[in-house]
């Protein structure tokens, strides 16, 4: 890591803010602030005045809600050195990736204590102005610490770790790199096992006896026949690692080409010798890998490094080259939804690498997506809309008004309402009043429960799908609006920067709809109790805010200029509702306060 990343214990690194932090700041500033002139309709409470504010953002409406909400205690200790927790949480500050985070899970409780720095910033911050560097937004319950790394950063980290361990193990860098890759970059485990039984570790990693005394080289050996191509001409250049499996250079190169180019292997290419598990070391590879392969080879090595590290993930966005580091572990995923924002602007879940799905935990997302995909819903539809003939079991859909059904297959006559024998109905033709009779109750019960569960699912699914669809439409409208923005600039004499409120509004809509979408999947799995109501209230408030903003987007361009202030207000209100919802949900998730009707594990 560049030195600028190394934070001083107590002081904020003033020289340079990691890009990720900057971005998070920006996002937060959108959520927490409105415009340079705070709109009249929304009062931002002065945080300085009351240190006990429970949620850092709330408005007049939220006040009422706060009375109903159980207070969320927040430790704001002013005597604490600023950002000390942040230094603990942010691995980037140590520059030694993995060490700080490898053994500790994310610190759930330390999240709230670095608020002191932003009291003033709340009041006068503008979303469209760059942030003063010494102000940092408070970390909300739904936020996690993360860092974004470029390929160069990652290379640097690898080199650094190799160097460090190499000194400790007194091994050359190439061998150390193989050992580290062999141990999936778990330094501690490598050092421990190496100290325990050096020979065994070297052997298992495919290194065998020391290589430094005998560097790899090509040789021409008399009487040599290549076991792969069967060439035996004199002077044939050949190569063998110290396992002794010797092949001609051409075959060796073709073998490596096959492995690297087609099989995407790099870190664990084995000796081509039959049954030999010796892993090819970097020096031998350097000697043999042809120049057209080196780029691919190094890219693959980098890939394995990130894949091996539990706290590193590639950004899943197409063509994005960044990797994100986050300390949230798999076992934490029942208590947190770790959304990270890559420098390419893609927000994704560090747990499952799907697009941001807050507030819904990964396990529920998986279940939900599977459910939506599953044909079982088709089956559900069938069972809700059709009935089986009580006699032969054929599936029947009612196509007329009369309840007197005659099965086309077995000619059985029954009543659609009560499923009982039609003959028992006597003369009450169109009126089924036989509600307690046994012949029909079982069939009715099964029918009713299936219909109910389908209706419940459809309720949530329709809303989920609607937000997904609306987000797309919002985006379409924005793209059209974007063109209008240029018109607006010329017609109203507004500067480019002044029409940016449209873009901010569009982004807010996208983000809020994404959140809303997942609130419905979340709610589907939520068991009904008091907390569900709070959740649904938050959901409703956000939904109303979003729809209000969305509506404004459909206005004509010539009206837009006049709506600027209103639109900015609504944008910031949306974002604040979103923060409130996410914060509350995440806080409760952290405390394991939600009751789900499925298992989260």
């Amino acid at each position: 890591m560049p030195a600028a990343f190394v934070g001083d214990e107590a002081a904020e690194p003033v020289t340079k803010t990691p890009p990720s932090t900057r971005k998070r700041k920006l996002v937060d500033s959108i959520t927490t602030s409105a415009t340079s002139q705070p709109p009249a309709t929304i009062e931002l409470p002065k945080r300085k005045a009351s240190k006990t504010t429970t949620a850092s953002v709330h408005d007049a409406n939220a006040d009422a809600e706060q009375a109903a909400l159980p207070a969320t205690p927040q430790t704001l200790s002013s005597d604490k050195p600023m950002d000390s927790d942040d230094d603990l949480n942010s691995v980037a500050s140590s520059g030694m990736l993995g060490e700080a985070m490898d053994d500790s899970s994310v610190d759930f409780d330390a999240a709230d204590s670095d608020d002191d720095g932003l009291e003033d910033f709340q009041d006068d911050e503008s979303a469209f102005e760059s942030q003063p560097k010494d102000l940092r937004p408070a970390k909300k319950a739904f936020e996690v610490d993360f860092n974004v790394y470029s390929p160069g950063d990652i290379q640097h980290q690898q080199d650094r770790q190799v160097e460090e361990v190499a000194t400790l193990l007194e091994q050359p860098a190439e061998q150390t790199a193989i050992l580290l890759r062999f141990m999936s970059w778990n330094k501690e485990r490598l050092i421990e096992q190496y100290m325990d039984n050096q020979e065994e570790v070297l052997d298992k990693a495919g290194l065998g006896a020391n290589m430094s005394s005998n560097p790899p080289r090509l040789e021409a050996i008399d009487g040599f026949t290549c076991d792969i191509c069967c060439e035996d001409e004199p002077g044939l250049q050949s190569f063998a690692m110290n396992c002794g499996h010797r092949f001609c250079v051409d075959c060796y190169r073709q073998y490596l080409g096959q492995k690297i180019r087609e099989e995407g292997e790099a870190a664990r290419i084995k000796c081509p010798g039959d049954g030999c598990n010796k892993v090819m070391d970097a020096k031998s590879l350097d000697l043999l890998v042809t120049s057209d392969l080196t780029d691919r080879y190094h890219e693959l090595l980098m890939r394995t490094y990130v894949d091996d590290k539990e706290n590193l993930k590639w950004c899943p966005a197409p063509n994005c080259v960044y990797a994100v580091e986050c300390g949230v572990k798999r076992r934490d995923l029942t208590r947190t939804v770790p959304t990270v924002n890559c420098d390419c602007k893609h927000a994704f879940c560090f747990g499952c690498t799907l697009a941001d799905h807050q507030p819904c935990p990964c396990a529920l997302v998986r279940k939900w997506l599977k459910k939506c995909e599953d044909d079982s819903e088709t089956a559900n539809w069938i069972s809700a809309n059709t009935k089986e003939c009580p006699k032969c079991g054929s599936t029947i859909e009612k196509n007329g008004g009369c309840n007197h059904m005659t099965c086309r297959k077995c000619r059985h006559e029954f009543c659609w309402m009560c499923m009982g024998l039609w003959s028992e109905h006597g003369t009450s033709w169109y009126n089924c009043n036989r509600f307690e009779e046994k012949s029909g109750t079982d069939a009715r019960d099964a029918q009713a429960s299936s219909r109910k569960s389908l209706e419940r699912y459809l309720h949530y699914y329709n809303r989920y799908a609607n937000h997904e669809q609306s987000a797309k439409l919002d985006k379409d409208i924005f793209h059209k609006t974007e063109k209008k923005m240029q018109l607006l600039q010329s017609s109203s004499g507004m500067s480019w920067i002044e029409v940016q409120f449209l873009e901010a509004a569009s982004q807010a809509l996208q983000q809020c709809r994404q959140t809303l979408k997942w609130t419905y999947a979340f709610a589907y799995y939520l068991a009904r109790n008091n907390q569900t109501e709070i959740f649904e209230d938050n959901q409703k408030d956000l939904e109303m805010a979003v729809e209000n903003l969305s509506e404004m987007f459909e206005k004509n361009t010539d009206q837009l200029a006049g709506l600027k202030v209103d639109m900015m207000d609504k944008t910031s209100y949306c974002m604040r509702r979103r923060v409130i919802l996410l914060d509350d949900t995440a806080q409760r998730l952290k405390e394991e306060g939600w009751t789900f009707n499925v298992d989260l594990k």
Binding site: D227, I228, C229, C230, E231, H245, F247, D250, C251, Q254, Y255, Q258, E263, K270, P272, G273, D274, G275, C276
Partner: protein, 152 residues
């Protein structure tokens, strides 16, 4: 390049000194990349008495990629796909385990070993594997029926 000399050498070796229970022929004089093997069932297995035609296709990258096997005679076996391909893919036949010095003769030895001792944990036909593990009697019965029906 690397392939041709190697293939010719292997072919010569295998024809003069074939592995137990295997004979090799070339279906086409001009194409050395498709071999036909006739494999007899190992004597102490349920496949005893049967003969299977197996087509071996050497990819153009051979020997850097493994040969592909296809049972042309149907066989009831957990490690052979029960379709028209009759493919077998385990051990050294898998791309990640294949090593260029491995020979067709080794592959054929493997095939016979797997016929003698199926590997249900590496199965391609899971239902046959399950039967092999849990209802050996029934498995043996069907396998023998197939031998009589297809492999004689």
């Amino acid at each position: 390049m690397a392939g041709n000399k190697r293939i010719m050498k292997e072919l010569g070796e295998i024809q003069s000194n074939p592995p137990d229970g295997v004979s090799i022929s070339l279906p086409s004089e001009s194409d050395f990349n498709v071999w036909h093997a006739t494999i007899s069932g190992p004597s102490d297995s349920v496949y005893a008495g049967g003969n299977w035609k197996v087509e071996i296709t050497l990819p153009k990258e051979y020997p850097f990629k493994p040969p592909q096997l296809s049972f042309k005679t149907k066989i009831y076996h957990p490690n052979v796909t029960n379709d028209e391909r009759g493919a077998m893919c385990l051990g050294m036949l898998r791309a990640d385990e294949w090593k260029p010095p491995n020979k067709i003769a080794d592959v054929l030895k493997l095939v016979r070993a797997v016929m003698a001792a199926p590997q249900p944990e590496d199965a391609v036909e899971t239902s046959i594997a399950e039967q092999f593990r849990n209802n050996r009697k029934e498995f043996d019965k069907i396998a023998k029926e197939w031998v009589n029906k297809h492999a004689k």
